[in-house]
């Protein structure tokens, strides 16, 4: 893990805690993404959508692409995680999910200090990110 020099005078306790979790999280997500991508492109695991099919359909808008390849929306990819292409979503989801973890980890520090406004901002941000990740907002298409 990178050891960034820091001084408590310049970076608060919350800021340093956030940075530590972010540092670990993005590295885990990035490494997993590379490993899973290797398994995918070198054909170690079979893909739900073959590379040849993919190269035919990636000219389509996302919704038409999904129809053409019978692809999942929302968290439906979890059911296809044994397939090489959708296995990659684990690393991508970690990259897209680490911020919520950072917020959840730092929130108690703000609560402990009695910083009600920032605690409320953090709770609201967690709700926004969870809402985005939930797939509830999955309607609408071209």
């Amino acid at each position: 893990m990178a050891d960034y020099s820091y001084d408590p005078k310049y970076a608060s306790e919350e800021q340093v805690a956030y940075a530590g979790t972010l540092d670990r999280g993005w590295k885990i997500g990035f490494v997993l993404m590379l490993i899973f991508f290797g398994l995918y492109v070198f054909g170690v695991l079979p893909a739900h959508v073959s590379m040849e099919q993919l190269a035919q359909y990636w000219v389509l808008p996302a919704d038409q692409y999904l129809k053409a390849v019978n692809g999942p929306t929302g968290w439906g990819w979890v059911a296809l995680v044994t397939k090489g292409d959708y296995l990659n979503y684990i690393g991508i989801a970690i990259l897209a999910g680490i911020t919520v973890v950072c917020y959840a980890q730092v929130l108690p520090l703000f609560l402990k200090k009695g910083d009600k406004v920032y605690s409320a901002i953090m709770i609201a941000e967690i709700l926004v990110l969870v809402l985005a990740a939930s797939g509830i907002l999955g309607g609408g298409a071209h």
Binding site: K9, S12, M51, W58, V59, L66, I92, T99, E125, A132
Partner: protein, 320 residues
Amino acid sequence: MNHHSSLWHKGLWIPGLVALLIFLSQEGWCAEAAAASATTTPWWVWAAALFVTSFLLGIVAVLGGVGGGVLFVPIVGGFFFPFHLDFVRGAGLMVALAGALAAGPGLLKSGMASLRLAMPLALIASASAIVGAMMGLALPTHIIQTALGATILGIVALMWTAKKSEQPDVPKADALSSALGIHGLYFDAAKNQEIDWKVHRTPLGLLMFVVIGIMAGMFGLGAGWANVPVLNLLMGAPLKVSVATSKFMLSIVDTSAAWVYLNKGAVLALIAVPSILGIMLGSLIGVRLLKRANASVVRKVVIGMLLLAGSRALMKGLGF
């Protein structure tokens, strides 16, 4: 020989190469031609070409002082590659997100990025980015293409005209920023001194981040090009704090938009992963070249590239 090696050392061959690729794509190897050949060209050629292009863009982005996403979306989406704009924007968001996540820890621990400054603004921008992402995936492609072109041309104008202020004069913090306790202290190594900062015009700043969030989600461009002027010129944060906080904020704002794209199937691993890897490796090389490159010349070349890419997107959107 000396002249060539000088150009080489200044890193000017890289934006030159990207500009040449763009020129060639205008001359017949355009996205439509690429789409027609998409079925005949092996998939791995596209993946490899995307990696190389992203790598070069990663170098150029650092040398030109712009985010990877703002170059990636218009150039990969407008020229050479057959991918639909939905997937390019999905990959663009992941590119901007990965870069911001990687930079975040160092920026936070050094105190250059401020959590207290970022959090209220990021809340507004990330909620808006969800709306922008949903709009971007719901509107017809030609409208998004047209709006993207207009936005890129707007960014060109902004880059050409906007001034930066190393340490803006903030006579008095506004009531909202005082209530939120938005202020800080950082050590400027270049000046070898501590800089105390505060901000003003926070309500207007919050309003601006509604627009920035929508655009970030809609186009997948990242939003450093808009964050920095608002933080620096409008709110009066020092330039270094603005740049660092902007970069960190992208990790929050682009997260919300990325989830919408992911949930709607607009993130394809074969497009996103080579792009992320290429840009990140390119950025590392770019940082090494930074000391030797002529930054102002590279920046002009980047502005030229964006001008070309924005015009192309606008023309495609308008059906020319």
